[in-house]
Structures are given as structure tokens and as C-alpha cells.
Symmetry: C2
Subunit: 225 residues, 2 copies
Amino acid sequence: MDAVIKIGGSLAEDPKRLRTLCTELSEFAKKYAIIVVPGGGKFADVVRDLDKCFTLAGEIAHRMAVLGMDQFGLLLCQIIPNSCATYLLSDVKQFSEIGVVPIFLPSRLMFKEEPLENSWDVTSDSIAAYVASRLHVAKVLLVTDVDGIFTKDPRKHADATLIERLSAEELLKFNQRTSVDCHLPKLLLESQIDCYVVNGKHPERIEAVLAGQQATCTLIAAGTE
Amino acid sequence: MDAVIKIGGSLAEDPKRLRTLCTELSEFAKKYAIIVVPGGGKFADVVRDLDKCFTLAGEIAHRMAVLGMDQFGLLLCQIIPNSCATYLLSDVKQFSEIGVVPIFLPSRLMFKEEPLENSWDVTSDSIAAYVASRLHVAKVLLVTDVDGIFTKDPRKHADATLIERLSAEELLKFNQRTSVDCHLPKLLLESQIDCYVVNGKHPERIEAVLAGQQATCTLIAAGTE
């Protein structure tokens, strides 16, 4: 398989653009063997709100948020042409081989095996990387609504610049919040997976990354080059 | 088993009161064999919003909303003392017998058997009644944030009055939206289950209904008396 592509839930804020992206993904799947992993989006936001009100146990909040990924995955299944949702890693390759875009719903695997810690440090970013490691896929794309990881929060600082490349080790030591979760760099290092943070509003960037070409994005490289 | 008790997701709007209710439920479970079925609440609201934006297929929206019940069930599991969540109807009686409050997470049963139609006419109300029918429980309590079913919407009409009792057949013919879903009266008729719409802000009413005593609520009676 060529790549795991996580579709961030925030992209659902702009339905028309998300539909365009999903149609393009289906086209890319004709050339590349891809697996779609859903983000949590609005559902994860509801869990965060409830967590604030009820001080949920880590395991409970984590499970609720993972179910949010299943929910968004079901939505993606409707809008990615020629796709099929599955709970089984074993289905993924078979679907791809017959030309169907596999959408992996993570709840059953996560609840059964509990391979990752139960905290907000682990979100759909880490789960996408974990799926890639399980399927021996060397590339993960985190498709979101920003161009990549910036030196500072670009919504607050006009002088923030896009980081085109950093190593997973550098990201581990990065002393501020980024658009990816805190556990991700550890997983990338362990599994030697390259990760690209890409803006889903520009599907051509996703295609370029799949083709191994230059694109506006952030590469989090497993190796140090 | 004595009763299926559905806890409406809207009760999470008032965390302190929901906690009080949940503590009381755990007490009631010492005297009565109860099964808790979660509502969908905020999660179902997110599905409704996405349905408006993406015009989801009935099956997709339904599944997403049912996962919302699982999510709220996990939360309830944290705040109902001495409770345990399960996907299996077969666990429910066993849990109850050893003094644990069973919380039924409906997704796996619903996805596997698809016993109810995939539409917004079927919500957690109907699913609670279906669980009761499967477990041969004759009483369902729909615990919500209003006193019961009114002659008119009480938020809009000052002269709305509480209906203390109506038959499932009468509810079928009721030509306006009520606080319960449209499919419910059919299910109650088929399974001959009595259903009580009760305000969860007054846990003593729930206890009264369990004890077969008078309480402020609406009884939807399966028979015509």
C-alpha cells in the first residue's frame, strides 16, 4: 500500500470543498493504493466539551473520541465515490486491490487491542500513523485545513512561516502546540514512517505528495536525512 | 427485569443534576432490576447538522446517531456508580443479578441486525423500546428534561397542559410533534410495553414509576384500559 490519508474533521466545515477533495481522492486511488482514516472533527469537540464538564476518565474520553472517528468515517463513505468503510485491517488491502477506496473505522481495533495511551495526546493523527505501521505503509498524509506546521500559530502571528521539513526528533522537542498531536512524533520514530501535513483545500498538493513531488506542506521525516 | 430506563442526552446540559440523577439510579438499581439505555444528545445534534449540510443517506445518518448513543453511554458509565457498559443483551441480566447497573450500548446490535428502519423517526426512544421487547421487559421509562408529553409545545404555548395518560394508538394519531419519536407508538403496540415519559430533574418521579405509584409524567399505555 502507498499511503494512509487522514482526512481531518475540520474540513467538514466547508462541505463543498470536502466533496471536491473526496471526489479527487477517489481519482487518486486509481493510481495509488491509499487507505483513508477519518478524523474526529465536531464529534471530538463535543467529547472535549463534555470532558470539561464531567472530568472524564482518560479511557472514557478516548473511546468516545474514537467513536467520533467512526462517525466521520461513515460520512466520508457517503461522499468518497467508490469507497467502503470497514473495521478490519484485513479488509483494507483486498478493497484496494479491487479498486474500492478503503475507509478504516478504528473503534473496534482500538477498543480490542488498546495499543496507544488513553489521553488527548493521542488523536486521529497518531491513530493514522498506527494504522500505517500495522499495514507496513511508509507514508502518512494528515490532511487538514492549514498548509502545514508553522513556526508560530499563523492565526495569531503574522510573521509565522511554514516549516517545510523537520525531523520527528525535532518535532518531539518542539516546545509549543502544533496542528498535530503530541504522541505522533514518537510513533513516527518507532515505525520509521514519513508524515506529511497537507492542506485539503488544495487536493493537487495531496497528489504531488503521493507522486513524491514537491508540494506546499510540512514533511515530518522519520530519518534525519 | 423490571424496566428499561433511557437517559436523554439533553440532561447532560446540566452536569450537576445529571450526576444527582445517576447516583439515584444506582440506588434504585438496588431495589429494581433496571437497564440503562443512553440517548444521543449533543452527538445526535452534530449528526443532524451534518445531515443538513451533506444530505446523508438514511442508513449513514442513523448509524452515526446510534454511535452517539454509545458515546453518551460511555459517559453515563463513568457517572452512574457501580455500572458497566456492554454491547451484549446477554450480559444485561447477568450484570443486574450481581448488583451492577447495566448500560446497553446499542451500536453493535443495531448494525448487525438492523431491526428498525433507518430514519430520524427512529431515535433512542424506539431503540429503548426495542431493547425492552428483546429482554421481555414490560416497562420503559424515557427520562428527559420535560415533565412529559403536553397538549401543545409548552415552550411556545402558555396554555399547554401535561397529558397524564394516553394510549399508544392515540399517540399514533396525534397530529403534532411530541418529545418522543414517531416510530415509538408502533413498537409499544407491537410489543405491549407501557412507556413513561418522566422528567429526570426529579428522580423521585422515576422511583415512583418503578414502584407503580402515581407521579407527574406521561404514561403511553400499550393497552386501552
